[in-house]
């Protein structure tokens, strides 16, 4: 009897936690469909705020900046992170373990410290060389920097999970170094690469702090636009953007999860 009470209690706790996590999101999603422009009372369903989004040049440009930033940085981070992940795997037995800690650092560093450092660095480079004016390019560099560790760690863990003899089997079966990459390594880590790409994409779209410190006047992303717009009060338009972002990020996260499940199988 007591066991059953405990079980019910734990189940209830689970639902409470879920509600705690998702109710605020539900409020935003619900009010994005509000017919009136009140943030307090819900008067009826409407798509007018989504229509309003489509006509807002600033929002459309912020959206396209976000997409360019997320896709470009993810692709670059994928290439570099993949090589680093393989390097970590190849040298895992050497006494270079402490070097790998360096790759973790950006993950645990507070975003604000990271963002300020990037900004200070770009300012210095710009002062000395005239290059790297704040804008999309500096944002892409900053995003690549914080995405690399995630990609490297995902790729590394995929390689570690493989039977090391597979590398030898590929050599033994007449695969030259290039063919080993094309016909063995890349296909084997493909699920990890897809998963890493969507994780990087999500991280980039989500990021506000680092983008804020490295953006230029023309390169506002969606989070930066929202932050600016919210100073004038929460409009139902913002709810609509937020809903779209929740959808996009959830989709990317689900794809990332599906492929990370598959690579474990």
């Amino acid at each position: 009897m007591r066991k059953r009470t405990l079980k019910r209690g734990l189940t209830g706790f689970w639902w409470f936690t879920l509600a705690f996590l998702y109710l605020p999101l539900a409020v935003v999603v619900l009010f994005s469909f509000n017919a009136s422009n009140s943030a307090a009372t819900f008067t009826g369903l409407s798509l007018r705020w989504y229509g309003r989004l489509m006509g807002n040049e600033e929002i459309l440009s912020a959206f396209s900046n976000s997409m360019i930033l997320a896709i470009t940085s993810s692709v670059i981070a994928l290439g570099i992170g993949c090589l680093i992940g393989y390097g970590m795997y190849r040298h895992r037995h050497r006494k270079l373990g402490w070097l790998i800690v360096l790759i973790y650092l950006p993950i645990v560093l507070p975003d604000i410290v990271f963002g300020i450092s990037e900004m200070a660095f770009f300012v210095q480079v710009h002062r000395l060389t005239g290059l790297l004016q704040p804008g999309l390019v500096t944002m892409i560099i900053a995003h690549v920097t914080f995405q690399i560790p995630f990609v490297a760690l995902i790729v590394y863990s995929r390689f570690v999970g493989l039977d090391p003899t597979l590398f030898e089997a590929a050599k033994d079966l007449y695969a030259s170094p290039t063919k080993r990459v094309v016909h063995f390594m890349l296909p084997t880590i493909k699920p990890a690469l897809i998963s890493a790409f969507f994780l990087s994409f999500t991280l980039s779209v989500d990021d506000f702090v680092i983008s804020f410190f490295t953006a230029g006047p023309e390169s506002a992303t969606l989070p930066i636009y929202i932050w600016g717009a919210i100073k004038k009060g929460v409009s139902p338009e913002i709810n609509a953007i937020a809903t779209l972002m929740i959808g996009a990020v959830a989709l990317a996260a689900i794809i990332s999860l599906v492929f990370s499940r598959r690579r474990q199988a």
Binding site: T165, L166, E168, K171, D172, L173, Y174, K179, H183, A265
Partner: protein, 375 residues
């Protein structure tokens, strides 16, 4: 001991064309392997190979036998090109391949873990080597189909790798190596992960495959029983040095030294304290040996002994007391006390009287069954 297989096997070495017995399945000349002064060190202190000179004949089923860390796997990996020797030369089929990278050697390996590619189907696994060598798809398919029939894979080729059992993986790994028709096939303890029943079944299958193809097989194992069943010749390794090379009967019946004898499962080893012609004095007593060699250690194989009830006087007769008996159905294993020494004996169960624990018996051994070896 299977005398039939041994007899058949010892007749086969030599440059007999591959496929003579295989009804034209693979028409290729088998290749010999020559190793000269191979040395390999890991780090500063670990000597894996300490000067290995060895010639493996074309078409031979050759086994590298030894305990773990003896260098047998290192030697196999040097043959495959997965490891580079620090010193020495290696030639296959008369061609020096010491410096040739693994993907350019006509040598294939069956790995202990099978190492089937998880991202490929069984069929793609089988065709991998052919694809890497640039064979056109039609020819790849034809050769995969041929090997699938030869190894009797049946519908296994259409499965996914993760749907296969251990024994099935083993056979796919064998087929994936054989389909390339290499000069030499290397097998790194390919049966060690399987249970006993499946293991002996696959031993027979592997042996038949080798005999039919006439290909040179180099097999690594730590199991002396397996080595004896399979091999034309065995090389016993210890500490990176070859201790003895010879056919199974020679290695088992006339081991070169105490290490080989113990590794082949012999316990009845007694220092010779005095020697007068064929008359040897040991802690068991005096024994007459014929053609026993000049070594300082006497080897008595348990299965050469006979146990007579009671005390029977005679040459090479030793009085003993039975201290232990393990009845195993087809035979019985005895532990006997002779003075302060113990002696193991094995008696075939042919329905005769089997002495019991505590019985006084007389151990009888023929002079020609005694051999001596060096420490």
């Amino acid at each position: 001991m299977s005398d039939i297989i041994t007899a058949e096997a010892s007749a086969s070495p030599g440059a007999r064309p591959v496929g003579e017995a295989a009804q034209g399945e693979v028409a290729r000349e088998a290749s010999s392997i020559e190793m000269q002064g191979l040395h390999k060190r890991f780090g500063r202190d670990t000597v894996a190979l300490d000067g290995v000179d060895l010639t493996i004949e074309a078409g031979e089923f050759f086994t590298l036998l030894g305990p773990s860390g003896c260098g047998k796997t290192t030697l196999l990996r040097i043959l495959a090109g997965l490891e580079e020797a620090d010193d020495g030369r290696l030639a296959i089929g008369g061609k020096d391949i010491t410096e040739v990278p693994p993907h350019k050697r006509s040598v294939n390996t069956v790995f202990q873990s099978y190492a089937l590619f998880p991202h490929l189907s069984v069929r793609e696994n089988l065709a991998f080597g052919l694809k890497m060598r640039g064979l056109p798809p039609e020819e790849r398919e034809a050769r995969v189909a041929k090997i699938a029939e030869f190894i009797k894979l049946g519908d296994l080729v259409d499965r996914r790798v993760d749907q296969l059992s251990g024994g099935q993986r083993q056979r796919i790994a064998l087929a994936r190596a054989l389909v390339n028709e290499p000069d030499v096939l290397l097998l790194d303890e390919p049966l060690s992960a399987l249970d006993a029943g499946l293991r002996s079944q696959l031993q027979v299958e592997l042996l038949r495959v080798q005999k039919r193809l006439g290909m040179t097989f180099v097999f690594v194992t730590h199991d002396q029983q397996e080595a004896m069943v399979m091999s034309d010749r065995i090389a016993v390794l210890n500490g990176g040095v070859i201790q003895q090379v010879g056919p199974p009967r020679e290695v088992y019946e006339r081991p070169a030294n105490a290490f080989v004898a113990r590794f082949m499962g012999h316990d009845n080893l007694y220092p010779v304290t005095a020697r007068q012609g064929g008359r040897l004095t040991t802690s068991l007593g005096e024994l007459t040996a014929e053609d026993a060699g000049e070594g300082g250690l006497l080897l008595i194989r348990p299965e050469t002994l006979d146990l007579l009830p009671g005390e029977v006087a005679g040459d090479n007769h030793l009085p003993a007391v039975v201290s232990e008996r393990l009845y195993r159905g087809s035979h019985a294993e005895y532990r006997l006390e002779i003075g302060s020494s113990t002696l193991q004996a094995t008696l075939n169960n042919r329905g005769r009287h089997l002495p019991e624990v505590g019985d006084r018996v007389t151990v009888s051994v023929a002079p020609e069954d005694l051999v001596t070896l060096s420490e």
